[in-house]
Symmetry: C2
Subunit: 340 residues, 2 copies
């Protein structure tokens, strides 16, 4: 800020001064200032903090970034961090980054490619040590990172991409196990409430739905495309209820949409699972707290976040880019017709 | 990273080189690189990006931070960004910061003071231009920011604090209007499900509950303290159901806890609002999608986030610290007994 820039330069108190005053090594001062990577005994930490306060030492991350060629920052771009799925993902990424001594720059693309690309440029300009991108498209253009040698990893990807590490689950298999479960409950008319993508790409979960129907010799139930949001699910639910050929079961492509579908069903007096069974996707904490509780295909978010961070700044960073595929698991609750 | 640090220094391509190549002013190059503050026509932007790519220009935010005395970063510390309330708050802060050209460093304290203080030190070391803290206590110690002249603002504060700007709502008034509404529905035994704080401070919402009961000449219903989490609300709901003097209405101190309470009530076959009416606090999107939909005291999060960011880096930053109090509003849905 202008005010600070206008101040006269201060006599430089260095890390060495702090170390001497506190009677510790400069490394210990660093551990305290950077809150890691090694732990410092509480008494020693208190001594260092007192020295920092008395000498008015100001560690300067910007200077350090210039000198070391690292900003110790990672950037995360998600469509919307208030969507419970991305909220959880952001939390897991922050935790994984923090464990490695990195802080997280968080940016929301609000589901638009324009904003996503603007954030990529912005993060590149800030010389983050890596970018984690949950893109609004399956095949994002990373040229906005420039040639700044900033490694990136794509989150939520179901397939490998050329020259970049990707992290995700087999969406097609996930869709299939969800629908197979509904088939085993005896359903013959199984619908699909699917999200929409910016680029109108086909979501593999749709193929998974078709796979399971085909294997069981069933015809396609109604298919609705609505935004990945509570409101989207709510709109889909109302259309399902009003439709002539109402299915007896529906696979919904995200928990947040399923929450919206359930609201529409409750309002219309359609009972879950008796009149309409539901299986959803994500396995977020919300799924456990709907009424009835949602059966959902769960993604191992913490492991996925850790793998993404490691691909950028962990031991894996020397490895060539690759696809990290994680297993999904069907968490059976009550919305499918199980339990009681 | 070590690898990068080992590379020989590159010949410096400057902003001026890019401007000359693209046939624009250096200011326009800045606007493109920093994605603002002024808009650039798409055709011009494309020309600048092409020049950046061809010349391999790497704008360096670290160098800029040293020179300008600003990092154009704000730090946000919340207890847990995956809690829907803080997810929404973080989104609103990110949006407000982005509009002013700042990026957001997000850190989770996981509800512990130790981690909160470690993050404060870490953000200070990174010379952020300001810190927004949603502390786990009502009276946080900011000495960990050191004497680095880093302005801070406390979020979720219900009262002024010495020497620092605070942003929040009148929690006591919020609690009172919630309980007054239940009183108007004719309830005589009104309980309270309250969150817990690290320092065992009294939450003013509890006083608001007492205010409304006192004004109506009612005795205190059951009072339960449980964590601000779905699980906390679930545990409280089970205790309410099992209790001898089951209340006919309950005020719950957060939407996330109310979601848990409702699960326990559903499981026990206790109907909302017929057997037990609920009013909650936060007004998050979740509240609209529970069954029945939650009547909740809504906080104006977007306005609160914008005020907090402005206090740090907006026109307000020259003003002396003050308390920014925002109004709350009771959003009436069905859980209280209204509607049908």
């Amino acid at each position: 800020m202008t005010q600070e820039a206008a101040q006269p330069p201060r006599p430089a108190v260095t890390r060495k001064d702090v170390a001497r005053y506190a009677g510790v090594s400069t490394a210990v001062v660093s551990y305290v200032v950077n809150a890691g990577p090694k732990r410092v005994a509480p008494a020693t930490e208190a001594r260092v903090l007192e020295a920092i306060r008395l000498l008015d030492y100001r560690p300067n991350a910007a200077a350090r970034a210039l000198k070391m060629g690292t900003s110790e920052m990672l950037g995360l771009i998600v469509p919307e961090n208030s969507n419970p799925y991305f909220a959880q993902l952001a939390h897991a990424v922050e935790e994984a980054a923090d464990r490695r001594g990195y802080v997280l720059l968080l940016a929301n693309s609000d589901g638009t490619l324009t904003k996503e690309r603007r954030h990529l440029r912005n993060l590149a300009a800030r010389r983050v040590d890596g970018v984690l991108l949950a893109s609004v498209v399956f095949d994002p253009d990373l040229s906005d990172l420039g040639s700044a040698d900033i490694p990136a990893v794509l989150l939520n990807q179901w397939r490998p991409a050329a020259g970049i590490s990707t992290v995700g689950v087999d969406l097609r298999a996930g869709g299939r196990i969800a629908v197979e479960h509904l088939v085993r409950h005896g359903h013959r008319n199984i619908g699909l409430v699917m999200g929409t993508t910016v680029a109108n790409e086909e979501d593999p979960r749709e193929k998974g739905w078709l796979d399971a129907l085909g294997a069981a010799g069933l015809q396609e139930g109604p298919l609705l495309h609505v935004p990945f949001a509570r409101e989207g699910g709510y709109a889909a639910g109302k259309r399902l209820v009003a439709g002539a050929q109402r299915p007896t079961a529906v696979f919904v492509s995200s928990d947040i949409q399923a929450v919206g579908v359930m609201r529409a069903l409750h309002e219309a007096g359609v009972r879950v699972p008796e009149d309409l069974a539901l299986v959803s996707f994500d396995g977020s904490p919300d799924a456990e707290y709907t009424w009835p509780a949602l059966t959902s295909v769960q993604l191992p978010l913490a492991a996925m976040a850790a793998a993404a961070v490691d691909a950028l700044v962990g031991a894996d960073r020397a490895q060539p880019p690759r696809h990290h595929e994680f297993p999904v698991e069907l968490i059976v609750r009550r919305s499918c017709g199980c339990g009681g």
